[in-house]
């Protein structure tokens, strides 16, 4: 799905099509048709220049009604970085994003750990497996009220967490200040995932790492099994 200001749409398309050999197409946010997609990806970028709040204007895009229905029926939706912020604003995922704790735009490689492999976005991984993956965001400090956090934990919705190189969940590894070191989480039904790190930037060895492929390969596997 492409919004004015999306800038990771081509990278994501390239990985799905050229690296993983999937049929792939762009959906313009003003359209009114998901064109029978099996999975919709909301890419990273700065939709509407992050005006008002990150993702806040994109949620009023015409195609969002179709996206809501698609998600409601169990369709797979992946939001990466700004895509995650849009999904939060839409209410497809619980919580909200605050500015990073150090008030800086973070552009770095971090380690995340797979916390839950029983989702369509992580089933190719192993629990506690580490991924080295880039982040690039200003508003990635995940926040939700305590009762929501309790619910998220009870339902096992946390899929990826920021960790150190040893896989430990530390305050230092929690680069943006997210509650519970949350880097990625699903909805209760597990068909919608939002994550701040960019798997599309580490999905081919030419770019130094293939750690991000696990996310896309998991989606492909779960669609094949369905």
């Amino acid at each position: 799905m492409v919004f004015p200001g999306s800038n990771c749409d081509h990278d994501t398309y390239h990985v799905c099509k050229d690296v993983l050999g999937q049929e792939c197409f762009y959906l313009w946010h003003k359209d009114h048709n998901l064109k029978n997609a099996d999975c919709v990806i909301l890419p990273g970028g700065f939709s509407y220049g992050d005006y008002l709040r990150s993702g806040a204007i994109a949620k009023f895009s015409p195609l969002m009604q179709e996206l809501q229905d698609f998600a409601q029926k169990g369709g797979l939706v992946l939001g990466i970085c700004n895509g995650f912020q849009v999904l939060l604003e839409l209410g497809l995922l619980p919580g909200a994003m605050l500015r990073n704790k150090n008030l800086k735009f973070l552009c770095d490689h971090v380690y995340i750990k797979i916390e839950n492999t029983r989702t369509p976005f992580s089933n190719r991984g192993e629990r506690n497996h580490l991924l080295s993956i880039p982040i690039a965001h200003f508003d990635g400090n995940y926040y939700a009220p305590p009762e929501t956090i309790e619910e998220i934990k009870r339902n096992d919705q946390i899929v990826y967490r920021y960790v150190d190189v040893e896989g430990r969940i530390t305050e230092e590894a929690n680069v943006n200040g997210s509650i519970e070191n949350i880097a990625g989480l699903t909805n209760e039904k597990r068909n919608v995932l939002g994550m701040m790190p960019h798997p599309e930037r580490v999905s081919e060895s030419l770019l130094g790492s293939e750690d991000g492929r696990i996310i896309f390969e998991s989606i492909i596997l779960s669609l094949k099994q369905a």
Binding site: L52, R53, A56, F60, E89, G95, A96, L98, R99, K101, N102, L103, Y143, A144, P145
Partner: protein, 80 residues
């Protein structure tokens, strides 16, 4: 008619920008400053509609668009 809407973080949400401003003020010697919370101001000019309607619609649009109710709260007033 002109309306001013003030959006700020809920008291339970940490406001690192407000904290940074507070620290800057303390560094400058304004040692009486206890706390700073940063927010956003929207000035909305509306067409000639009944005040009753304004009172119904402004909180609605503030809640739907201007503020994210998970982290923010808002107040509003008619300024002109």
């Amino acid at each position: 008619m002109k309306i001013r809407v003030l959006v700020s973080f809920k008291d339970t949400v940490l406001d690192p920008q407000g904290q940074t401003v507070k620290n800057a003020l303390l560094t400058l010697g304004y040692d009486f400053v206890k706390d700073v919370r940063q927010g956003k101001v929207f000035e909305i000019e509306v067409k000639d509609i009944p005040e009753e309607k304004t009172r119904k619609v402004i909180p609605e649009l503030a809640d739907k668009v201007l503020a994210n109710p998970i982290i923010e709260k808002f107040t509003w007033e008619i300024i002109e």
